[in-house]
């Protein structure tokens, strides 16, 4: 089928033949998907890396080749130390992610949802947040959690089946993971409405904003739309941060949309920005801007961070059944960590000691996570009956007492009861 990318409500695609249309094929090829396979000029080819080209609207400050480029609206002043610490976050987050995958393979985790490839999008967004801001994640935001000071072991607890999120969602400014897609978009909007009600909007230092994370697949769900509608109507200070990693399990993004997702925002009357989600600097700059817009009363804002899911959807997934080779190779050349490393080295912004020290730190982290993970205590049966209600009911308490007594009646109390 012919590709198309209407720019205005008047644009008119060519008529398609009157054959029975296939519902199995997306109706059109989406911008990014097209351009991934698009041509690359030779001068772009440096150190085996190629330039991204997710459309002319893409905001980029650091090319895959590690070149700093400037942008008229979203430029960024950044010190070598800051650059190093962003790189450090990405390296450690990736290491934790790889360790989690290994732990799952060894049966220590029941499941893992890898973030491989999305480190820049998540660290860029996470580091853009002020302490008083609030994040509403989906289930893959391990990198954002890291930036909010939520220890990876708390994330592991979910995937080990020990709890459903053990960190303090208020104190950390990072809400619990949300698995039903994308329920959190409305929670974030409501929370942001509350920030406005509390008078936290304005130029004061304690002004607040909210950021909501979701994927490209999630954009098809009604709750994203209602989140956009509510946020626009109430001027809610919320940044809708869509990580377009090109896949919803086996569905490529053109199964969800004809046109780039950031363009959705226009129809609701708020800005939509497409940023290179593999460029930590661009993501940081754009997200900072968006959060400031929200804090000062100009929310909401939609950010589409173009990135790529470099691993399987989860450890139970088998991408070989549906992924076309090639795209992955393309995206490897746009690796979010590598471009920063190249930049740090080429510009002489970091010595080898830095890289060596970071490697050692990553190793220590991996060991700590592994040791902690395999020794995590499993909850007892009483957990089943705890916190069902804030104001306990006699019914639940009675069932709990009965069951615990029954449970204790087994000689081997940990047994098959």
């Amino acid at each position: 089928m012919p590709s198309r990318n209407p720019r205005s409500s008047r644009s008119r695609p060519a008529a398609r033949p009157p054959v029975t249309g296939s519902l199995g094929q997306p109706g059109s090829v989406v911008g990014t998907a097209m351009e991934i396979d698009g041509p690359h000029t030779p001068e772009q080819v440096i150190a085996g890396l190629r330039a991204t080209s997710e459309g002319e609207d893409l905001v980029q400050l650091l090319t895959p080749e590690g070149q700093r480029v400037s942008h008229p609206q979203f430029d960024l002043e950044i010190s070598p130390a800051e650059l190093q610490s962003l790189y450090r976050d990405m390296v450690l987050v990736r290491r934790a992610d790889r360790e989690a995958k290994a732990l799952q393979r060894q049966g220590e985790l029941g499941l893992w949802a890898p973030l491989l490839g999305q480190e820049a999008a998540q660290v860029g967004a996470g580091r853009a947040m002020a302490p008083q801001d609030m994040a509403f994640p989906s289930y893959r935001e391990h990198g954002v959690a890291w930036c909010r000071g939520v220890d990876a072991t708390e994330i592991f607890g979910i995937f080990r089946g020990i709890d459903q999120g053990s960190w303090d969602p208020i104190a950390t400014g990072f809400q619990l993971y949300t698995i039903v897609i994308p329920n959190q978009c409305l929670h974030a909007t409501g929370y942001a409405m509350g920030q406005r009600l509390d008078g936290k909007i304005g130029d004061a230092d304690n002004a607040e904003a909210t950021i909501c994370f979701f994927g490209d697949g999630a954009t098809s769900q009604g709750d994203v739309h209602e989140g956009f509608v509510w946020a626009a109507v109430y001027d809610a200070p919320v940044v809708f941060f869509c990580q377009n990693n090109q896949w919803a399990i086996s569905a490529s993004v053109d199964r969800q949309t004809r046109v780039p997702l950031y363009q959705r925002a226009r129809g609701y009357g708020f800005p939509g920005i497409r940023v290179d989600g593999n460029d930590v600097l661009a993501t940081l700059a754009v997200t900072r801007w968006a959060l400031r817009e929200c804090r000062t009363g100009n929310g909401p804002v939609l950010i589409e961070a173009c990135t790529y899911r470099m691993d399987a959807h989860t450890t139970s997934d088998d991408p070989t059944r549906y992924q076309v080779a090639g795209a992955l190779e393309e995206w490897k050349l746009k690796d979010p960590l590598e471009r920063v490393r190249v930049h740090l080295v080429r510009e002489g912004l970091a010595e080898s000691e830095f890289f060596d020290g970071l490697a050692a730190e990553a190793d220590e982290l991996a060991v700590r996570l592994r040791d902690y993970c395999i020794s995590m205590p499993a909850p007892g049966p009483e957990r089943i009956f705890s916190n069902v209600y804030a104001e306990p009911t006699p019914a639940v308490d009675a069932v709990r007492d009965d069951y615990l007594a029954y449970h204790a009646s087994f000689t081997d109390a940990g047994g098959t009861s």
């Binding site: 509403f136 709890d163 459903q164 999120g165 053990s166 303090d168 969602p169 208020i170 809400q175 619990l176 949300t178 039903v180 329920n183 978009c185 409305l186 929670h187 974030a188 909007t189 409501g190 929370y191 942001a192 409405m193 509350g194 920030q195 009600l197 509390d198 009604g222 709750d223 209602e226 989140g227 509608v229 509510w230 109507v233 705890s386 916190n387 069902v388 209600y389 804030a390 104001e391 009911t393 006699p394 019914a395 639940v396």
Partner: protein
């Protein structure tokens, strides 16, 4: 609410309105939100005057979308507010069902108590007002089957006044059912009489012949039936469940142990419903006291019919009395 202790006659609708007003005065974190709750005061005028008196920050119209209403209420609760959401009619709660079942009911549990969900979802329920489709549903059982939710149904003006305040004060999510065809029922409200706790059922009328348990719009139907039955020398004990989750069945068990006979009445379809649960529990708990099987008088297991058929669809005085005769004939 007039500060005077002098009993004042109010309608059930007015009781809710006054109760909401009192709750908003008592706690500035209480918000009222929903479709048309602002200037219009709701299609049933339950929120009449609240926006005028409490302002547009605390009483606001929402865009048209129930998932949006419940989902943003969850976010506001995370922020420390106590939203009271109005669902315009029973048949329109389903677009918000996912947010209620997957989020509202589970966030306290998921967060191991770190988050609280003091959200009230007000739903006018039941038929009998000659409405078009989707305006006469009785969806209570869907919510009573959902752990993490608390579900109550008010049946009288006085209960309406107190129960809505108690529901708003509760730190758990409460699905609050209002018997729409009884909105205009009247009763004297004496503020001097302290209210029954929220999660308690109540014996409305004592009797020895048989026990009839019900809730919501059919409470009055059953009371009327009891009055008629009395003429025939039948003394019916009538119990209003009031709380549908958790259920408070102790008074029902006590009653059935005395009367030996139970009839459960609800206008909701009977299959896999609250009346099933009550019948099952009583059959188990009062195994040796029951002189006859528990009988159920319910709406039929069909979609709600066109309005001209609802007189036949809804359990009425005659069907209740017929069940009484059958349970006694057993």
């Amino acid at each position: 609410m007039a500060a005077t202790g002098a009993p004042q006659t109010i309608t059930l609708a007015k009781g809710l309105n006054q109760g909401l007003r009192a709750a908003m005065e008592a706690d500035r974190k209480v918000l009222v939100m929903g479709e048309d709750v602002g200037r219009l005061g709701g299609v049933f005028r339950i929120t009449d005057g609240l926006q005028k008196d409490f302002g547009e920050q605390r009483v606001f119209d929402t865009p048209l979308g129930e998932s949006g209403i419940i989902g943003t209420a969850v976010g506001l609760a995370v922020r420390g507010y106590r939203p009271v959401c109005e669902i315009q009619f029973d048949g329109f709660v389903f677009p918000g069902f996912d947010q209620i079942v997957s989020q509202l009911a589970k966030l306290h549990y998921r967060s191991q108590g770190k988050l609280r969900m003091p959200v009230v979802v007000r739903i006018p329920h039941g038929g009998g007002i000659g409405a078009v489709e989707h305006h006469s549903e009785s969806p209570e059982s869907y919510f009573a089957h959902t752990p993490g939710l608390k579900v109550v149904a008010c049946a009288s003006p006085v209960d309406a006044y107190w129960m809505i305040q108690q529901a708003i004060a509760c730190d758990d999510p409460v699905i609050f059912f209002e018997p729409k065809r009884r909105y205009w029922d009247k009763a004297p409200l004496d503020l001097a009489t302290p209210p029954l706790p929220l999660f308690r059922s109540r014996v409305l009328r004592t009797g020895t012949t048989a026990t009839v348990v019900t809730y919501g719009p059919t409470v009055r139907t059953v009371l009327d039936a009891a009055t008629v039955a009395e003429r025939d020398g039948q003394a019916l004990e009538v119990i209003d469940l009031r709380t549908l989750s958790p259920l408070d069945l102790a008074p029902v068990f006590d009653s059935v142990r005395r009367t030996g006979r139970l009839i459960c009445v609800s206008e909701a379809p009977g299959e896999v419903s609250l009346t099933s649960e009550v019948a099952a529990r009583v059959s188990q708990e009062c195994f040796y006291s029951l002189a006859a099987p528990v009988l159920r008088v319910t709406g039929f297991d069909t979609p709600y019919p066109p309005a001209k058929c609802e007189e036949d669809y809804l359990p009425d005085l005659d069907r209740v009395l017929d069940a009484v005769d059958r349970v006694l004939a057993y």
